[in-house]
Every structure is written in structure tokens, then in C-alpha cells.
Symmetry: C2
Subunit: 214 residues, 2 copies
DNA sequence: GTCTATAGCGGGATAGAC
DNA sequence: GTCTATCCCGCTATAGAC
């Protein structure tokens, strides 16, 4: 058995992700962690800070992994494809992360969300926008899409899939969670879909293509 | 002043959407509705059924509006563009709907979600898949994308934008909500992005194109 | 239909034994 | 470090006056 603190964090993570902060009781966390509920107060000052600890444990490492793939100097299509893969892998390996993030966004009106989350979201987003903008300048990507919107469209496909996972799973005809190989297939689909949307089409000369021809 | 029942439903909708079911108290709803909290129990049997009433009031009409646009016999690109517009308009006019739906998906593990939600989600999704499948058969859409995945990618772009609205708004540089004209611009962007992803590319002959040439 | 008062329960958090 | 016992508060829901 791992040490109690880790047990508690794991249990809390699962419950906060599935039910939200308010609906999750200290007693339920203790039960799920197979630990005496009063013990939570030995490791954490109160429920709110336990929640923050849960988020921080995941986020710090997670953000770095995705950001690494977004190199503005690399060819944009490759960089974006790699980032999508990294993001999907992360979400698959950390199954509760998407819902934790989604709750943070929905519950706290963003203004009161953890500063850590705000920073990470803004950092990754700016970075992706930058990659897209450079790709457009080089003619690798269509120039008639607003970079911010293109970034949102691309992120949304992965983010929504994982956030709505329970429902998506049913819609795809599975009973419990979506099987790992299906997630991988979806990830590769997103890359194809996003690439088709983002790269210039021979039939539709874009400003970037004209620029590239000079 | 509208009748008390409507006041209560409006207040409950706003609070459930922003904070979730568990974090919303009867007293807060009464306060927000400018109504005595005990009065809620005159109109609704308990908190859970008030919540259901909130959802049902919105969902019944909402689903029909979007489904109407998804005519499998119409040209797929037009049908999809219309559906995206209808969906976005609906979400814009019913600002709390996206978060209510997202919470329903995240909280209830889909299996225990309101049957009404399950039906609507499944119905709309099947319908969109059907439109895509027919479009592929007619050569209007790329045939190398799985229809279910293509449907998820397309829906996700709009759904995520609205669910993550508070955060998205900040990322786009706005302070409060995203202004209406920016939402409209994003909607048109999604249509362009989705169309580029879904329609065949001259450089990349697809099975559907070959089929269409016969 | 609307309000006051309150019952009754379950939650977060603490004291203190071991 | 872990457990028992318990306090106190705020919540849902009801009884009953008006």
C-alpha cells in the first residue's frame, strides 16, 4: 500500500473529477482512500487546499510536456500534430485531468480559477497561436484563418472528446470507458481533420500561398 | 414581475449552471429570485426535481431547432453549415445551456444522466453521422474520415467554445463575456474550418471522389 | 400563494487518546 | 501517524399561520 497521502490524493482526484468539489465529502474521500477521514486533516489544512493539491500535482508536469512539442521554429504542421498527440496521450494517461480542468473553467468563471491554471492555459494558447502564425507566414498553413480561432478549433476537438468522455463513449457504442486503441484512432483522426482544415488547398489559393510564391 | 415560478426557474438555471447542483442552495435560489426560499417547495417537490425542470424547460425546444437543420437529403455541406449556425445561435441565446449540458455529462457519468439528455444527444449525433455518411456516398465529403469521428470533431469546436467560455473569453482578450459579434465571427470560422476538413481536396483524391467519377 | 419557524440530518473540522 | 468521538454549523424540507 502506498503512503496515505498519495492514497488520499488519488481518491480525492477521482471524486472531485467525477462529482465536483461541493458534492464530494471528506468522508467519501476517506472511504475511497481506505483511510480514516480525520486523517485528511493531518496532511491537508482543509478541503479547499486538498483540492488545490490535487490540481497542482497534475498540472505542473502536464503543461510542460505539451508545451515542449510546440516549437515555433519547427515546421508548423509537424509541431501541431506532435502537440495534439502529446495532449491526447497526457489526457489518456491522466484520465481525470480533463474533467478537473473543465470544472475549474466552468465553476470559477475563470477569473477566480487557480492562478496556476490561468497561467498554463494562457501560456499554451499563446504558444499554439504563435506556431500557427509562423506557419502562416511560411505558407505552410492557410492564412485566411484567424490564428486564435484556429487554435481554439484544434484544441477543442481533443478537449471536448475527453471532457464529454462518458457521453462520447456511449455514442460510439461502448459501455464503459472508450478503449485505448479507439482513443488512439480518434487522435490520428483529429490530426487528419485539423491538417486538412489548416493547410492550404490547391483549389483555393490563399494569401499565404501567394506570398510563398514570391 | 413575472410569476414566481418563472423567477425561480430563471434563478435556479443561472446558479446551477454557474456553480453546479451541490454548491447551489435553496436559499441562494430564493434570494436570486427575490422570493421566499420556502416558496420553492410550493412549486417543486424538491431540489432535484427543480433541477430537472430547469433542464427540461430548455432542452425540449432546443433540440428540435438544431435537428431541423440536419436534413439527410439536403447537400451535406449546406446541412452541416446550417446546423453549426443553429447550434451556435441556440447557445448564444441560451447562455446557461452549454454549461448545464456539460455538467450533466461530467457529473452523471452519462449512464445516470437524465434520459431526456441521453435521447437528445444520441438523436442529434446519429442524425449528424447520417448526414455525413450520405455526403460521403455522394462524393460531397471526404470518405476517408470515420463519420462518427468527423461528427465529434465538428460538434466539439462549438461545444467547447461555449463550455469554456469564461476562459476562452480571457484568452481572446476580453474581460467579461465574449461579445456577440465575436461569437458570430467564430461561428463562421468553424464553418470554414470544418468545411476545409470535411470536403475533398483536389490534391488528395479520396475513395469518394473515385466513386463519384464512376 | 406566501411567509415564519423549526425539525432533523449530514457536512467540515477539532480534541485528544493511542 | 492514525483513530474515536464529537462539536457546530448550514442545509433541505416541513408544519402551520396568514
Amino acid at each position: 500500500m502506498a503512503d496515505a497521502q498519495a492514497q488520499i490524493l488519488d481518491a480525492a482526484e477521482a471524486l472531485f473529477a467525477r462529482q465536483g468539489f461541493a458534492a464530494t465529502t471528506i468522508k467519501a474521500i476517506g472511504h475511497q482512500a481506505a483511510v480514516n477521514p480525520a486523517l485528511l486533516y493531518y496532511y491537508f489544512p482543509d478541503k479547499a487546499q486538498l483540492y488545490h493539491a490535487v490540481l497542482e500535482r497534475r498540472l505542473a508536469t502536464a503543461a510542460r510536456e505539451v508545451a515542449q512539442k510546440l516549437r515555433p521554429d519547427a515546421p508548423a504542421p509537424e509541431a501541431i500534430a506532435q502537440a495534439i498527440r502529446a495532449y491526447a496521450t497526457l489526457m489518456r494517461q491522466t484520465p481525470y485531468l480533463p474533467r478537473l480542468i473543465a470544472r475549474e473553467l466552468a465553476d470559477h468563471e475563470a477569473a477566480h480559477a487557480l492562478p496556476l491554471i490561468r497561467e498554463i492555459a494562457a501560456g499554451l494558447f499563446q504558444r499554439l497561436c504563435e506556431v500557427i502564425r509562423r506557419g502562416q507566414d511560411r505558407g505552410e498553413l492557410r492564412a485566411d484563418l484567424a490564428p486564435q480561432f484556429a487554435a481554439i478549433s484544434t484544441i477543442a476537438q481533443v478537449a471536448w472528446f475527453f471532457v464529454a468522455q462518458p457521453a462520447v463513449s456511449r455514442l460510439l457504442g461502448f459501455d464503459g470507458a472508450v478503449p485505448a486503441d479507439e482513443i488512439e484512432r480518434y487522435t490520428e483522426h483529429v490530426i487528419r481533420y485539423a491538417m486538412a482544415a489548416l493547410t492550404p488547398d490547391a483549389r483555393r489559393p490563399t494569401r499565404a500561398r501567394k506570398r510563398a510564391r514570391r
